[in-house]
């Protein structure tokens, strides 16, 4: 057993190795929440297979007082292994001076034993069997026993864990009691058999005062509720399904009419993603706020109708929780690889507005804003989340809402508007000079305002036309409208401004966690680069200025072909030699170490 050296306070990476489908996710999540309640920033990452039960799965908890919640890499300080199948490999991934907790029914191979880590065999199965009666209880409580042991290892106050359990199983006293028992079993056994706590200790702080523990998928669903969506049409696909589930849950909570018990929303689980986007477009066309949530393969199916929405100028909101591609790819791994297919979805000259949230708080905000943006610009808007942000619970800023906020419905002519105006609507005419025309909802006025919506070429009155002049007026205005959109989408954030080196870093989305940490690592070595976080397409003019200002610009992203770099070159007419890439695309979330090492190589 390694002798404890100096303590590492609130700075530990814990990894659980479980068999998927065993109830471990719930138990592991309890621990994450307990650390949050201890007032220390914490983030979890679920690394799971595309499978229902029986295969290896891992869950990481990163505790970091400094707020570094990104993936740290291969090695974990504490590994709790409940899966004999992955055990040999898991042992190799404990960092030097770390701890390996495992079920003592497994006999370790002496040849593979390391002398630079501490082994903590624990009687998880034995205790579960002797202390609990039903097979179900034994399986589930085994997980809570190891949580108790872990609490002893890192000196986490059991009362905090108990409060989490009490909230989780509110109203089910027998379950609470059972969980408490298991917790104490693990804690007491570990404490009485091993010199604990270890050097990895969790000390209470007060750093989470205005924070919450939330996932991107739940946050975007909440954003859809707050943003006024009344229609969700969707098809199940990993990893976006939990977002649809969350919307259903919030709708049940917030959107039931008090008097009648009827629903102020409609959720359609349709037959495929083409039907999803079709229903979204139809509902949006007819004046309701509608959205769908999907992943890469779904986007591919939606491209034809996305082009129709672009050309016919109909709002559409899509949440894309990106996963490993291409094709069926890696349904349970993360990437940022749908940028090109989303930005330019569809044949012909098309462009879609993209939003890039970096954490659940931004998922909430941008998910709600997407409807205002889509209706204002009369264009599809795609929220580009990914698996890393979507499925993982992380410490993030609490949700806020301005109660004075009114929905921005865009240029919609009312019956009164039509009554008062001379003549009738010219659906696709640029009246105000901002390239955004006026529309009407069906059934607005008895004799005015009706027009034909079509995916075919049309003139400014929405009449079918094959004439070159008519066609060009429309598509050229769409190009101008793209520039107008710059003013309505989230601005980039200059996250680091040092003006000391001639190097600038561009990044977006879920890379933020790792980038923040990597930049701090570089600054600790007196390497100061500027960093701008892109939050939307079309690009704000500040992005172009940033690129022009630096001699070298490095674009960090999680795909093989440098898709953001491609978009920057294409949209801003940048010389390709100006933009360099740091690319991580194996399916695991990018780590600070990877960015740090590649930056050092480049600089």
């Amino acid at each position: 057993m390694a002798i404890n050296k100096e303590n590492k306070v609130n700075d530990v990476l814990i990894r659980f190795a479980n068999i998927n489908g065993s109830g471990s996710l719930s138990a592991n999540s309890l621990f994450t929440k307990a650390v949050f309640r201890a007032g220390v920033p914490v983030g979890s990452k679920n690394i799971y297979p595309s499978n229902i039960e029986g295969l290896p799965t891992w869950y990481e908890i990163r505790v970091s007082e400094k707020g570094y919640l990104g993936s740290r890499g291969k090695d974990a300080d504490v590994i709790v292994c409940l899966n004999p199948e992955s055990l040999d490999d898991d042992v190799t991934k404990v960092s030097r001076g770390g701890y390996f907790i495992y079920d003592n029914i497994v006999k370790l191979d002496d040849n593979k034993k390391r002398n630079d880590i501490a082994y903590m065999p624990m009687p998880f199965t034995v205790l579960a069997k002797t202390e609990f009666d039903s097979p179900k209880a034994r399986n589930l409580m085994k997980n809570i026993i190891y949580i108790g042991a872990l609490a002893a290892l890192v000196d986490l106050d059991l009362d905090i864990l108990k409060s989490v359990i009490l909230d989780e199983f509110k109203g089910r006293d027998d379950v609470v009691v059972q969980n408490y028992k298991a917790l104490e079993l693990g804690y007491n056994y570990a404490k009485s058999h091993y010199a604990l706590p270890s050097k990895f200790v969790i000390e209470k702080r007060n750093l989470n005062k205005d924070k919450i523990l939330f996932s991107g998928n739940s946050a975007q669903a909440l954003g859809a509720i707050y943003g006024g969506a009344t229609v969700l049409a969707w098809y199940p696909i990993a990893p976006s399904t939990t977002s649809a589930d969350a919307f259903a849950k919030y709708a049940k909570e917030f959107r039931i009419d008090e008097l009648t018990g009827k629903k102020n929303y409609a959720i359609l689980q349709v037959e495929d993603e083409i039907a999803s986007i079709g229903a979204v477009i139809g509902a949006s066309w007819n004046g309701a706020r509608a959205f769908t949530t999907t992943s890469g393969p779904g986007i591919s199916l939606m491209t034809e109708l996305l082009g129709m929405a672009y050309f016919a100028e109909i709002p559409a909101v899509i949440y894309n929780v990106q996963r490993g591609g291409p094709s069926t790819g890696m349904p349970t791994r993360t990437q940022q690889a749908d940028l090109i297919s989303c930005a330019y979805a569809s044949h012909g000259d098309t462009k879609n507005i993209l939003l890039f949230p970096s954490n659940p708080t931004e998922c909430f905000e941008m998910a709600a804003d997407a409807f205002d943006i889509a209706e204002t610009l009369q264009n599809p808007v795609i929220l580009m989340s990914d698996l890393d942000i979507g499925v993982n619970n992380v410490t993030t800023g609490e949700f806020k809402w301005d109660d004075k906020r009114e929905y921005k419905r865009g240029k919609v002519l009312s019956a009164q508007d039509l009554e008062e105006m001379e003549g009738d609507i010219a659906r696709y005419k640029d009246i105000d000079g901002d390239a955004i025309p006026y529309r009407t909802y069906p059934a607005t006025h008895p004799t005015k305002g009706a027009f034909f919506t079509r995916g075919t070429s049309h003139d400014e009155e929405a009449l079918y036309s094959e004439k070159a002049e008519d066609y060009k007026i429309i598509v050229d205005r769409l190009k101008d409208k793209w520039r107008t959109a710059e003013d309505y989408v989230p601005e980039p954030i200059l996250e680091r401004k040092h003006d000391m080196f001639d190097v600038g870093v561009l990044y977006f989305g879920s890379t933020k966690q790792a980038v923040d940490e990597a930049l701090d690592m570089l600054e600790a070595e007196s390497i100061y680069v500027d960093a701008m976080r892109i939050r939307a397409l079309p690009f704000n003019e500040e992005v172009e200025k940033f690129i022009k200002k630096h001699n070298r610009v490095i674009v960090i992203e999680q795909n093989r072909d440098g898709q953001m770099r491609t978009l920057l070159i294409n949209e801003l007419n940048i010389n390709s030699k100006k933009l360099e890439s740091i690319l991580v695309y194996g399916g695991a979330p990018i780590t600070a170490a990877e960015i740090y090492e590649q930056m050092k190589e480049l600089l």
Binding site: I225, K262, G278, G282, A283, A288, A290, Y407, A443, T447
Partner: protein, 298 residues
């Protein structure tokens, strides 16, 4: 007649650009007449179509209504979304046999299962007119069109399919029998649920040879009609259909009419106010609710 609020002109659209004697023009005229006789407020009708000769027709009727010429085979999902946004308008979907029986077969099936309150037309001529004469999935198995050979594949009978797939009103009309068609349309529009009307609509350019069961000459000598009581079970509907087929006639009429099935909005329990008319007060839980959400996440 003079007490009417709306005249026939209020239901007309632009001039047709279809071939002379195309069956589709007779259907357009029938839709105009039916809506006129029912005195539906013209602007409260929503017309959506797919792509094809059939799907061009919404321009030729109901000029005061908003129209949506969507994508090939995708009219059902568009009209579903539109219906979700406002359940109290009259929804007319126009499609063809290519649009519905091939690329659109999936959306057709699932919209019937939803029992969406709409009237769904297939202008059925057994061929792809707009792309110049290919055989469609409803074409006779062993007969080609003027331009293309027979498919030798099982033909899809959309009426049979609709009866067993969740449609709650199923009928077939014929462009050459406007009187019957107008009555069918009126019943269909009045029906609360998915009303399907398959209309034999000869394509004079590509599929009007007397050997084709979708031609004027064939229909003239083989027109069959079900004129009996309203049928409310699927089995009886199929039997009535088959009986006429056994007589070597093309079955037309209303074959199935079931008013006991909840339509989509009833099933979804949506509120009585059309969803698009709900505002922030009904839709946004505001900051007070966020207190609870945030607290549960701590």
């Amino acid at each position: 007649m003079t007490d009417e609020k709306y005249s026939l002109a209020d239901y007309q659209g632009a001039a047709s650009t279809l071939c002379k004697a195309c069956g589709h023009d007779a259907i357009s005229a029938s839709i105009i007449n039916a809506c006129y006789e029912m005195q539906i407020e013209p602007h409260k009708i929503v017309k959506v179509s797919g792509i094809g000769c059939s799907s061009k027709t919404p321009t030729y009727f109901l000029g005061k209504s908003h129209g949506f010429n969507a994508a090939h085979g995708r009219m059902p999902s568009i009209i579903t979304g539109a219906n979700m946004a406002h359940k109290d308008l009259t929804y007319i979907g126009v499609s063809g046999d290519g649009d519905t029986a091939s690329i659109g077969i999936g959306q057709f099936m699932h919209t019937m299962r939803l029992n969406l309150n709409m009237t769904y037309f297939v202008f059925n001529n057994g061929c792809y007119g707009l792309t110049k004469g290919q055989v469609s999935a409803t074409a006779d198995k062993e007969r080609g069109t003027r331009k293309y050979p027979a498919s030798h594949m099982e033909e899809i009978d959309l009426v049979r399919l609709a009866i067993i797939s969740g449609a709650t009103f199923v009928a077939r009309g014929y462009a050459g029998n406007k009187k019957q068609l107008v009555e069918i349309i009126k019943r269909a529009i009045n029906h609360k649920g998915f009303a399907f009307i398959d209309v034999v609509s000869p394509c004079v350019r590509f599929n009007n040879d007397k050997s084709s069961t979708k031609s004027y000459p064939y229909m003239k000598s083989h027109l069959g009609e079900y004129g009996g009581e309203s049928i409310i079970t699927q089995e009886e509907a199929l039997a009535a259909l088959q009986k006429i087929k056994d007589d070597n006639k093309v079955p037309t009429g209303v074959f199935y009419e079931n008013n006991l099935v909840l339509d989509a909005h009833d099933m979804l329990q949506t509120t009585s106010t059309p969803l698009r008319e709900l505002n922030e007060d009904k839709l946004c839980p505001r900051s007070s609710a966020l207190v609870g959400v945030n607290n549960k996440a701590r």
